[in-house]
Amino acid sequence: MSIVTVQLGQCGNQIGHEVFNALCSDIHGTHGLCSKKENESYHDSCKERFFCEEESGVPVARAVLVDMEPKVISQTLSMAARSGHWKYNHQSHFCQKQGSGNNWANGYSVHGPRHKEAIMNLVQKEAEKCDRLGGFFTIMSMAGGTGSGLGAFVTQCLRDAFPTSFILNHVIWPYGTGEVIVQNYNSVLTLSHLYQSADALLVHENDVIHKICAQLMNIKQISFRDVNQVIAHQLGSVFQPTHTAGGGSDYSRNPLGDLMETLVPHPEFKMLGLRNIPQMPENSLAYSTFSWPGLIKHLRQMLIANAKMEEGIDWQVRPPHPGSSIPSSHSKPLHFNTSIANLVILRGKDVHSVDLGSFRDPSLYTSWLNPQDAFNAWKTPRAFNKYEKSAALVSNSQFLLKPLDNIVGKAWNMFASKAYIHQYTKFGIQEEDFLDSFTTLEQVISSYTIL
């Protein structure tokens, strides 16, 4: 099945480009470390999922590029074409001239309706090119105006036009200290709206990725390109082909569907976090060896202690004792990250021998899911992006609770003073709309808090 990617705004387009780069460079890599047959199968599956063939033989990304100003798309199209390994369909983009001015209301209420037809036509064209449509993957930031506002509108349109398709929103959370002054307003409006239309939200936080770049990748002068490349690597480690548990020897044909099924049992809980291990500069890879037990142990503790990366993990945090007679909300130790469901994806050497029992420990999870259903694992012996062994964790847990609470808190603080509200009402978003959004998110926060 194929996935259609919709790249929205500057962030969405910059990241989308790095994602396709990462996918392509992975399948062309010579470090598959597996049989030729396996490699070919992986190659074909990836191609089917993300690219379509053209007469020229250069794979064309299954993507629609949308932005309200022309510079980023123009750059993105030409950079991809220059790579020689893949490209975008140059008809598959929609662009305007004046941008959204970081104004969610402008993106949602003005640009959205105005350009709905043109954008959905492009999406329809891409969907029709797929033999079987596996769903939509949208990439956007929630801080600006286009990715956030127009992105929320487009997601709604996707839901209306494709009611049975899976929609995964990849949302970038901005640096806590300003990229955009009204970022918290834009974030609150975006998240509350996406919650209605998307199946799940897969989140990356700029602050977290920045730390990974600084501490794990040893990059001195970190650029957005560096940040985007780490994000692309993490996404690739989730979306490149894998075998699911009951899938036999074929690669899974329904990645988005499988993801939703394993991780989103209840529509109130849609926030997914992502962790990846190991993460290091490319030139260090040759000198490093990893053991699966070591990687799994670290990944599990990262989950429990809500660590953002494999350094600085708090090993003191432990899950609550099982079989305790005290009601769960009292016996949970501080800082312990409760999960609803987890998915671990293993790639590389000896994956079939890995013991994942520690992830099946019921004490990691809420009581209302059967422990067997709460945890799933996908595997492939085919190594990813030059890492001999790598593991990714996609988690529906309290990972994002604190960051979400922070954003809502700051937005509420600003809303109480009514600052900047006139900029939104000018384009049709009223105070009541803000209040609705706040209410929705307070509900989500409350739900995740009492896990």
Binding site: Q10, Q14, E69, P70, K71, V72, S74, Q75, Q96, K97, Q98, G99, S100, G101, N102, N103, G145, Y175, G176, T177, G178, E179, V180, I181, V182, H210, C213, A214, I219, K220, Q221, I222, S223, F224, R225, V227, V408, G409, K410, W412, N413, M414, A416, S417, K418, A419, Y420, H422, Q423, F438, T439, E442, Q443, S446, I450
Partner: protein, 474 residues
């Protein structure tokens, strides 16, 4: 997206002249292949002049003949005529000019009421024609001074007109405020009358004070003449310099100061014209820096003022640039933002600067700055890959800060000194359409604005009480 400048009055046109010159220089440095591109199209049209006269617009391909998108308005002919005889004469078209002969006599009422009325239709017609040639009109820039008659009076009349004719297009105004020793006695009247218009009709105002420009020019002269830097300064990097542009022949006394303002406008629009990893468009500036409609006065600073010729710029030089942006002597008005209250702050960086450099410096400088309680992290940032001519990187800081208050208070005081004695009032009241109430309304508008800043200042340093959050029934 197009930004359309209007230069009104003597000051406005002198600055405008420097602006077009430096814009051409900037684009020539970046655009080596002579292809007419999106970046150029924000300020210039490309005309096919082979058939002689005014040919059609060429939207793609080689540069044929560049024409500035602008309207030049002056009620005297001196400045505009000089422009038309100088090296920039081919960049302008007689159809973009609106001139008269006798000037406004340093009288706001003459500029606004008399000439406004007289030239209204002419201005609207030329405005519409110019707008027709624009693919997507995003922003108007008015460049003028506040203290005289034309720039101040007719300039603010044009501001009103723009709001009526094109209400969705943003209106940015670069206003040069008179200093205390200004030789135009009635400059306080003109400025306060103009302020009311700016309060009500501008989206964003960038106030500039001649004193600050003068100090910057002097500072640079001292640096160069002290022999410390000598010939190691890159001539074309000086924020005051015309070097490398068309007009290097006859540098006039105000040229250096006007170049600073021209550079301000170039930097302000750089991220809209050139690519970068985090674009900042003009509508984003208005969105992020104006929390309440009337509080739209932005204090600007440009760094560095020059670049030394040696190419390697170590990290701490970069950090010095950020520190300088917040120092009193880099601001373009007499103000000290560090000791007042920030409502919002924007940093637009150009050149080889990455997000980690931005973050490091924001973290470093944040503790010494005071932000209003509801905007503790009030930073808007932009990264544009293309540096200005002669520099490897540069920074434009825009602050919505209560430090503008003293400028307004002084203006009010100077106004009241004259108004109490009714000095020179008759020159204004004898103009058709002008009444005493215009004065009282104007001073009222200014007083209200000052009071809004006072209220904000009163919150500075006070206890921070976060409002309680919505409670959800579980």
């Amino acid at each position: 997206a197009v930004s359309l400048p209007f230069a009104v009055g003597q000051c406005g046109n002198q600055v405008g002249c420097r602006f077009w010159d430096l814009a051409l220089r900037e684009h020539a440095a970046v655009n080596k292949k002579g292809i007419y591109d999106e970046a150029l199209s924000s300020f210039f049209r490309n005309i096919d002049t082979r058939s002689g006269g005014d040919g059609p617009d060429i939207y793609k391909g080689k540069i044929c003949s560049l024409k500035a998108r602008a309207l030049l308005i002056d009620m005297e002919e001196g400045v505009v005529n000089e422009l038309l005889q100088g090296p920039l004469r081919d960049v302008f078209d007689i159809k973009q000019l609106i001139t008269d002969v006798s000037g406004s006599g340093n009288n706001w009422a003459v500029g606004h009421k008399l000439y406004g009325c007289q030239y209204r239709e002419n201005i609207v017609e030329k405005l519409r024609k110019t707008a027709e040639h624009c693919d997507c009109l995003q922003c108007f820039f008015i460049i003028h001074s506040m203290g005289g008659g034309t720039g101040s009076g007719l300039g603010t009349f044009v501001l009103n007109l723009l709001e009526e004719e094109f209400p969705e297009v943003y209106r940015f105004v670069t206003s040069v405020y008179p200093s205390g020793e200004d030789d135009v006695i009635t400059s306080p009247y003109n400025s306060v009358l103009a302020m009311k218009e700016l309060n009500e009709h501008a989206d964003c105002v960038l106030p500039i004070e001649n004193e600050s420009l003068f100090d910057i020019v002097n500072k640079i002269h001292q640096m160069i003449n002290s022999g410390k830097l000598g010939s190691t300064v890159k001539q074309n990097s000086l924020v005051t310099s015309s070097s490398g542009s068309a007009k290097t022949l006859q540098e006039k006394p105000f040229d250096a100061m006007n170049n600073v303002v021209a550079n301000l406008l170039l930097n302000l629009t750089s991220s809209a014209r050139f690519e970068g990893s985090l674009n900042m468009d003009l509508n984003e500036i208005s969105m992020n820096l104006v929390p309440f409609p009337r509080l739209h006065y932005l204090v600007s600073s440009l760094t560095p003022l020059y670049t030394l010729a040696d190419v390697n710029v170590p990290c701490r030089r970069l950090d010095q640039m950020f520190s300088d942006a917040f120092s009193r002597d880099h601001q373009l008005i007499q103000a000290d933002p560090k000791h007042s209250l920030y409502l919002a702050c924007a940093l637009l960086v150009r050149g080889n600067v990455q997000v980690s450099d931005l973050r490091r410096n924001i973290e470093r400088l944040k503790p010494s700055l005071h932000f209003v309680s509801w905007n503790q992290e009030g930073w808007k940032t932009g990264l544009c890959s293309v540096p200005p001519v002669g520099h490897s990187h540069s920074l434009l800081a825009l602050a919505n800060n209560t430090c503008v208050k003293p400028t307004f208070i002084e203006l009010k005081d100077r106004f009241m000194k004259l108004y109490k004695k009714k000095a020179h009032l008759h020159h204004y009241l004898q103009v058709d359409g002008m009444e005493q109430s215009c004065f009282s309304e104007a001073i009222c508008s200014l007083s209200d604005l000052i009071e809004e800043y006072n209220e904000l200042d009163a919150t500075k340093g006070g206890p921070r009480i976060d409002p309680s959050r919505l409670k959800i029934a579980v």
